[in-house]
C-alpha cells in the first residue's frame, strides 16, 4: 500500500533537493582535487578542464598515504575480528545463565559502562596505556575491543533470548559439550546479529578519531587515516587542491566498499537488532 501523504512528484522533488545537499560537497571535493591551483582559483564549481592527478601523486608519494592505509586496515580488521569472537562468547555465557544472580550482576556491570562517556576515561587511559607500554596499535585494538563490549553484548544477549534453551538441551543430550554447542550450533544461528556487529564496529573503528588521537598521535608511524588527515591540515594550509585531494583519497577506500556493499551495509545495520 502506498502512503500518499504527498503526490509522487512532490516527493521526488523534496528528495532530489535533499540529495543535492549531500552531493554538492562531494562534487566540490572531487573536482577541486582534480584541478591545479591556478584553475580552481578561477572557479570552484566548474568541471576540471583536464584530469590533473598531481595532487593525488603528492599525497600518495610524499605523505606516505599507504603507510596510514595499511595501519587503518590492520587495526580495523584485528579489532573487529576479536570483537566477533569475544562479544558473542560473553553474550552466550550470560544468556544461558540468565537465571543465576551473579551472571545478571556481571551483565548489569558491563551494561552500566554505557553511561560513562569516553571522555571520562580518556585521560586516565592515556596514562594507563603509557604505564603498560601500550601507546601503540595493540593498545588501540584492546581499547576498541573494550569500548565495543557493552553495546555488543547487549545486542547479542537480546538476540540470543530468541534462541530457545531447548536447543541447548537437545544438543547436550546428543553429547555436545558447551564448546561444541557454541561453535557448531549457537554461533551460526547468531549470523544476523554478527553481521550487524561487524558493520557497526568496522565503520566505527575505521572512522574513529578521538581514541587514536589519544593513543597514537605521538608516533606518526602508527597513524590511521583519520589521524593522517587531521595532521595533514598543517601541511596543506592554503593549498585547497592538495587538501581536497587528501580528503578524497582518504575517503576513497570506504567509498569503494560502500559502492559495492551498500545494500548489505544498510540492511545489516538494523536487521540483527530489530528481529
Amino acid at each position: 500500500m502506498s502512503y500518499r501523504p504527498l503526490p509522487l512528484i512532490l516527493r521526488y522533488a523534496v528528495l532530489v533537493v535533499g540529495m543535492l545537499f549531500i552531493l554538492v560537497p562531494m562534487y566540490v571535493t572531487i573536482t577541486v582535487a582534480l584541478k591545479t591551483p591556478a584553475e580552481s582559483a578561477q572557479h570552484f564549481f566548474s568541471l576540471p578542464s583536464r584530469l590533473y592527478l598531481g595532487n593525488f601523486e603528492e599525497v600518495i608519494r610524499e605523505k606516505r598515504f599507504f603507510t596510514y592505509l595499511t595501519n587503518s586496515v590492520y587495526i580495523t580488521c584485528v579489532s573487529v575480528l576479536l570483537m566477533l569472537i569475544v562479544i558473542p562468547m560473553a553474550a552466550f555465557a550470560i544468556s544461558r545463565n540468565y537465571h543465576k544472580r551473579h551472571y545478571r550482576l556481571l551483565y548489569a556491570l558491563i551494561l552500566s559502562s554505557i553511561f560513562v562517556p569516553f571522555q571520562t576515561i580518556m585521560l586516565p587511559i592515556f596514562r594507563h596505556l603509557f604505564n603498560l607500554h601500550l601507546l601503540n596499535q595493540h593498545g588501540l585494538i584492546l581499547m576498541h575491543l573494550m569500548l565495543a563490549l557493552s553495546e555488543g553484548v547487549f545486542l547479542c544477549v537480546g538476540f540470543l533470548k530468541n534462541i530457545p534453551l531447548e536447543l541447548d538441551e537437545a544438543a547436550k543430550i546428543d553429547g555436545c559439550g558447551i564448546g561444541q554447542l557454541f561453535v557448531r550450533i549457537i554461533y551460526p544461528l547468531m549470523r544476523p546479529i554478527i553481521v550487524t556487529l561487524l558493520i557497526l564496529n568496522a565503520l566505527w573503528v575505521w572512522n574513529d578519531f578521538l581514541l587514536p588521537l589519544v593513543v597514537l598521535n605521538r608516533h606518526p608511524d602508527y597513524w590511521t587515516l583519520p589521524l593522517f588527515i587531521y595532521n595533514f591540515k598543517s601541511e596543506y594550509s592554503f593549498d585547497y587542491n592538495l587538501a581536497f585531494a587528501g580528503f578524497f583519497i582518504t575517503m576513497l577506500p570506504i567509498i569503494l566498499l560502500y559502492g559495492f556493499l551498500q545494500r548489505h551495509i544498510i540492511a545489516g545495520l538494523t536487521e540483527g537488532a530489530f528481529k
Binding site: P25, V116, I121, M122, L123, P124, N207, Q262, R263
Partner: protein
C-alpha cells in the same frame, strides 16, 4: 569439567578486558581528579575536592557546558526531525528508491573528522565565493569566523552527516506499522496527517527513543567536528565539554583538573540517561 566453569571461561576474556581497560582507568580517574597533577611531572599533591569546587566557579567550564547543551538540543531536534521526514518520504515502493536511500545513507560511512575538514574548507572558500557572486551579504563571510554564528556552521555539518543513521532506524521502525491498520484508517476517512499521528507515530515511539538516546549522546560528547571546524574558536566560543577536557588535560597541563571536569560530565550524562530510561519505561508501560 563442570558446565558452570565452562560458561565462565566463555565470559572470562570480556571480563578481563573490562576490568583492566575500564574499571581500573575509571578508578585512576577518580583518584587523579583529586590531585593537582599536570600530567607529566614526577610529583603532585593530593588536593581532595578542590578541583570540584573550583570547576563550579570556572566560567570557561560553565560556558562549555552551556554551549554543549544548546548544541545538543539543536542537533537532536534537527537530526530526528529531518530523519523522520526522509524516512516517511522513502517508505513504500517507488522507482529509484534504493538508489536514493543509498545516497542519503552515504554520509554515515565517512569519518567525522574528514567531513569536518571538508566543510571547514567549504565554509572558508566555497560558500563566500557563492555569496559574493550572488551579492548575498550573509553568505559572503566565513560562518565559522564569527563567535555568534560559528555554532550553526558546526550544527549544519553534524546534521548533514548525522541524519543518515536515524533515518535508517526510522525506516526499520516503519516496517513494524501494520498495513491493515493504515488501510482501515484510510477507509474510515482519516487524513494523511491523522493517519500519521494516530497510527504510525505510536508504532515509532520505540525507534524514536533509540534515536533520541543515540543523538543525545552524540551531541553531549561532540569532539571531532569542533576540532576539525573551529578548534574551540573564535575566542572560546565553540568549546564543547569533550573538547575542553581534551584541551586542558592533554595540552594545557591540567590533567587532574580536566579529569575532575570529565567526572562532572559523567554525572550530567548519567542524570540525562536516567531521565531517558524513566521516560522510556513509562512510555512502554503506557503502550502495553
Amino acid at each position: 569439567m563442570r558446565p558452570g566453569l565452562g560458561y565462565f571461561l566463555f565470559f572470562t576474556p570480556a571480563l578481563v578486558l573490562f576490568l583492566i581497560f575500564f574499571v581500573i582507568p575509571l578508578g585512576m580517574g577518580v583518584y587523579y581528579s583529586m590531585t593537582n597533577w599536570n600530567g607529566y611531572s614526577l610529583t603532585y599533591q593530593f588536593v581532595g575536592l578542590d578541583n570540584y569546587v573550583k570547576i563550579l566557579q570556572d566560567s570557561r567550564f560553565m560556558k562549555a557546558t552551556g554551549f554543549t547543551l544548546y548544541y545538543t538540543v539543536l542537533v537532536v531536534v534537527l537530526r530526528l526531525a529531518i530523519a523522520l521526514v526522509l524516512a516517511l518520504l522513502l517508505n513504500g515502493n517507488f522507482a529509484f528508491r534504493s538508489l536514493i536511500r543509498s545516497v542519503y545513507f552515504f554520509p554515515a560511512v565517512l569519518s567525522m573528522i574528514t567531513v569536518g575538514l571538508i566543510f571547514n574548507e567549504i565554509y572558508y572558500a566555497v560558500v563566500p565565493s557563492i555569496g559574493k557572486a550572488l551579492g548575498i551579504e550573509a553568505l559572503s563571510k566565513n560562518i565559522l569566523g564569527n563567535a555568534q554564528t560559528a555554532i550553526y556552521g558546526i550544527v549544519f555539518t553534524n546534521v548533514w552527516q548525522g541524519v543518515a543513521v536515524p533515518m535508517v532506524i526510522f525506516l526499520a521502525g516503519l516496517t513494524s506499522v501494520p498495513k491493515d491498520l493504515l488501510e482501515a484508517a484510510t477507509i474510515d476517512g482519516a487524513s494523511p496527517m491523522q493517519r500519521f499521528f494516530s497510527v504510525t507515530l505510536p508504532f515509532l515511539i520505540p525507534v524514536l527513543m533509540v534515536n533520541a538516546v543515540l543523538a543525545i549522546k552524540g551531541g553531549l560528547t561532540v569532539f571531532d567536528y569542533i576540532v576539525a571546524l573551529t578548534d574551540g574558536g573564535p575566542g572560546r566560543a565553540t568549546e564543547s565539554m569533550g573538547y575542553l577536557i581534551y584541551r586542558q588535560g592533554m595540552q594545557e597541563n591540567k590533567f587532574g583538573y580536566a579529569t575532575a571536569e570529565s567526572i562532572y560530565v559523567f554525572g550530567l550524562i548519567l542524570i540525562i540517561s536516567l531521565i531517558q530510561i524513566r521516560l522510556l519505561s513509562r512510555k512502554e508501560a503506557g503502550q502495553l
